[in-house]
Homo-oligomer: 209 residues x 2
């Protein structure tokens, strides 16, 4: 019997402005690949009716959240609309050690924090919309709001998009099936990266004994 | 009209010991993907009956070869059985600038030379055979030779295999279709690497105007 090559899991970040198709891409990726699961964040905001503790979020009190911050138990954390959100280290590290991959739905600021703490494990992809017109159309469709609100969302999208140079890969989402195939190819390729593989030395020793 | 994102081509190296299926993988990859072509080497050895100048090799005299070396016109070069072989820089750089990818069939020494000269452009994959028994079987099949010659080939394979830690990706070729899919995924992923993309800044400026 030859020995087996295993691998350390990886952390996959998909970032994009709203209106670039990230949510759909994430869902399709999770459905198509049982080897990757969405990271579950901790939050101080109240649980909503349709949410499940530990599936949608870990719901914690502000004091608990602050105590986790002090214990350095988050990979990244942020404040959004006065609520705090953070990625607990423990479950992510457990997944990586078991060779399972973790998908993150975070913005450029969260990605920067992850980068500092998880350099080799992190794979980051920035998704771009195909054109100005298409981005505007998607923001309007989703908004059903006034031109003013659409303009604000466009400005927010522009600000998010300006961070594309901080990512490992850039994909233009012209066609969802094509963009999904690209994300899947990146995931498959990164799984074969030498640095993530465990036991190659032993495997090779057995090959050439 | 939004501006277009282009990309610089990449240099793909597949290396392996003989008997790991590299030749078959290279052929299938070239057949399946018109965006990548095999690099044509220059050599001082005599042209064989079935060979074509510029397709199989650029056939040059030892003096011409030496003059190219002095002009630093090779990306890598080596001596094999008293003949010299080298990869001319010009055609490779032309391909990369045009966004076409180039496949190299070179050993670990050639790969090391390429690495020094083409750091960002180079993507290197090491192909491992699935087991000691399978490697031996393939070396015997191919050799139809004495045990002594097979043992020598096995020793040579072991020496080549010891260089796996110098490669970006490692693939175990248990199944040719699966290994091909992995090589194709790596190629597709690497084509979406941010550093290879040209014009993203302009594309993004147009998106967010």
């Amino acid at each position: 019997m030859s020995s087996e090559i295993k691998r350390r899991g990886l952390m996959l970040v998909l970032s994009s402005p709203s209106g670039a198709g990230k949510t759909t891409l994430s869902r399709l990726l999770l459905e198509s690949d049982p080897g990757i699961a969405l990271s579950v964040s901790a939050t101080t905001r109240a649980m909503r009716a349709n949410e499940v503790e530990g599936r949608d979020y870990f719901f914690v009190t502000p004091d608990e959240f602050e105590s986790w911050v002090r214990q350095d138990a988050f990979l990244e954390h942020a404040v959004v609309f006065e609520n705090r959100y953070g990625t607990p280290k423990g479950p992510v590290e457990d997944a990586l050690v078991s060779g399972r991959d973790v998908l993150f739905d975070i913005d450029w600021q969260g990605t920067q924090q992850l980068k500092e703490r998880a350099r080799e494990d992190l794979v980051s992809i920035f998704i771009l919309p195909p054109s100005h017109g298409e981005l505007e159309r998607r923001l309007k469709e989703r908004a059903q709001d006034s031109d003013d609100i659409v303009a604000k969302r466009m400005a927010k999208a522009a600000s998010e998009i300006s961070h594309w140079p901080e990512y490992d890969y850039v994909i233009v989402n012209r066609d969802i099936a094509r963009a999904l195939a690209q994300v899947q190819a990146i995931l498959e390729a990164e799984r074969a990266r030498r640095q993530r593989l465990i036991g190659v030395g032993e495997f090779v020793a057995e090959l050439t004994r």
